[in-house]
Amino acid sequence: MNDEQKHQKVHAILKTVDDPELPSVSVADLGMVHEVVVDQNKVSITMVPTFAGCPALDFIEKNVKHAVENMNWVEGCQVDFSFQEKWSTDAITDEGKEQLKKHGVSPPPENYRPGEEWSVDCPYCGSSFTSMDNVFGPTACRSILYCGSCKNPFEAMKPVVDYSVV
C-alpha cells in the first residue's frame, strides 16, 4: 500500500468516527480534521476543536485514535488539537449538514457575518417560520429554536465565523 492509499484509508475511517454529542455526524464532516500525516506505519492527525470547553474533546481524541489504530497496518496514531487553524461553521461539509438535520439539528446559516441576525429553517418540516428561544443550548455549539409551522422545538448549530481584528 502506498502513502496515497494509506491517506485515503485514514480519511475513510475518520468519516466513521462520530461526534459523541451528535451521533451520525462524523468528525470529518464537522470539519474538525485539519491534517493527516502518514509516516510508514505511524499516523499523526491534527484536529481543530469546535468550541473551547467542549467536554467531548477527550472522547473524540480517544475514538479517533482507537479507530485508526484498529487498521491492521497502523502501529500507532497520535492525535493533537491545534489552535493554529480556526474552526468555523463554514467547515461543515454538505454531508455533515444533511446528517445534522437527520439528528434534528439545523446546520448553521451560510455566509453569516458577525453581528447579523440569523435565521434557520426547521430541520423537520423545512419551514422558515422559526424563532430563536435561546441562543445558548445544551452544548456550547448549539442554540434552541422553535418552529411556528410544525410546532417542534429544535436545535441549530451556532454560526461561528472568522472574526478577526488583525
Binding site: 468550541f51 441562543v135 445558548f136 452544548t139 481584528v165
Partner: protein, 271 residues
C-alpha cells in the same frame, strides 16, 4: 515586531518568560473565578432559559481558562489540574472584584444571591475580556495570539447576552434601575484592578505581549459607556487592593475551597 513561536523560544529570555506567564495567569485566573461564580447560579437563575444560557456561557468560559492553563503547562509552570486547583490565594492573579460572593447565604444552604451584582459584573467582565482579546490577538507570543483568536470567535455571544440584560434592566422598573445603579457604583469603587496588568505591566507592554494599561482602560470605558446610560461619576477605585499583585479577600478562599473540594478528597484519582 519579533514573534515568539514556541514555549522553548519564550524560555530563552527570562524577562520575556516572566512577563508572559504573569499575563497568562491573569487571563486564566479571571476566566476561572468568573466561571466558578457563574456556576453557582446553576438552578437559581431567574428563569429556566437563563439557567441554560448562563451554564453554557460558564462552561465555555471555563474552557477558555483551561486553554490559558494549558499554555502555562507548555511553558513548564506545572500541570493544568495543579495550576487550577492547588495554587493558594496569594498566587492567584484574578481581579479581586471577580471573586466577590454572589450575595448572602450559601449554595448548599439558603442562597440569597443578587442578580443585579451578577449582571453588572458579567457585563463589565465580558467587555474587559473583549478589549483584552482584541489586543492579545496581536501578541508577540504566537500561541497566545492563536488562543485569543479562538476565544474571540466564541465570546461575542457572551457579551451580547449580558449587554442585553444591562439594557433591559436599565429600561425596566425603578427598583431594577436602582439595584443596577447601586451595583455599578460598587463596581466602580472596587473593580479598578480588572483593568490593571499588575507589577509587570511595563514589561508586558515592552515585550509586546498585550497593549498597555491606559489603552485598555480607555477602550473599556468607551465600550462600557455605549451601554450604560449614566456611568458613576466617581473615579475607579480598588477597595480590596489589586488581585494582580496577589491581594485577595476571604471570598477567594471560600471559592477555592468549594471548587477544589472533590479534587482535594483524592488528588491521585484518575478521571
Amino acid at each position: 515586531m519579533k514573534s515568539i513561536e514556541t514555549a522553548d523560544q519564550a524560555k530563552q529570555d527570562t524577562s520575556y518568560y516572566q512577563a508572559l506567564t504573569e499575563l497568562l495567569y491573569q487571563l486564566a485566573d479571571d476566566d476561572f473565578i468568573i466561571s466558578f461564580r457563574g456556576s453557582e447560579w446553576l438552578g437559581l437563575a431567574p428563569h429556566i432559559e437563563e439557567d441554560v444560557a448562563f451554564s453554557s456561557i460558564t462552561q465555555n468560559t471555563m474552557g477558555h481558562a483551561f486553554l490559558y492553563y494549558q499554555l502555562l503547562e507548555e511553558l513548564g509552570e506545572g500541570e493544568v489540574d495543579v495550576l487550577a486547583h492547588e495554587r493558594p490565594p496569594e498566587q492567584r492573579r484574578n481581579a479581586s472584584y471577580f471573586e466577590k460572593r454572589n450575595g448572602e447565604g450559601s449554595y448548599m444552604g439558603e442562597p440569597r444571591y443578587d442578580w443585579a451584582l451578577t449582571v453588572v459584573r458579567q457585563f463589565l467582565y465580558e467587555t474587559m475580556k473583549k478589549v483584552k482579546l482584541e489586543a492579545a490577538v496581536k501578541s508577540s507570543y504566537q500561541p497566545l495570539a492563536n488562543t485569543a483568536q479562538k476565544v474571540l470567535m466564541e465570546q461575542p455571544y457572551h457579551l451580547a447576552h449580558w449587554k442585553m440584560w444591562m439594557q433591559q434592566l436599565q429600561a425596566s422598573t425603578e427598583e431594577a434601575k436602582t439595584k443596577i445603579y447601586s451595583r455599578l457604583e460598587e463596581a466602580w469603587s472596587e473593580g479598578q484592578d480588572i483593568l490593571e496588568l499588575g507589577p509587570q505591566a511595563q514589561e508586558l507592554e515592552h515585550h509586546q505581549l498585550i497593549a498597555g494599561e491606559d489603552y485598555l482602560r480607555n477602550q473599556w470605558l468607551k465600550e462600557v459607556q455605549a451601554t450604560i446610560k449614566t456611568p458613576p461619576a466617581s473615579p475607579l477605585g480598588k477597595k480590596f487592593g489589586s488581585g494582580r499583585s496577589g491581594e485577595h479577600t476571604p471570598d477567594l478562599e471560600q471559592a477555592l475551597q468549594t471548587l477544589a473540594e472533590v479534587y482535594d478528597s483524592d488528588r491521585n484519582a484518575v478521571w
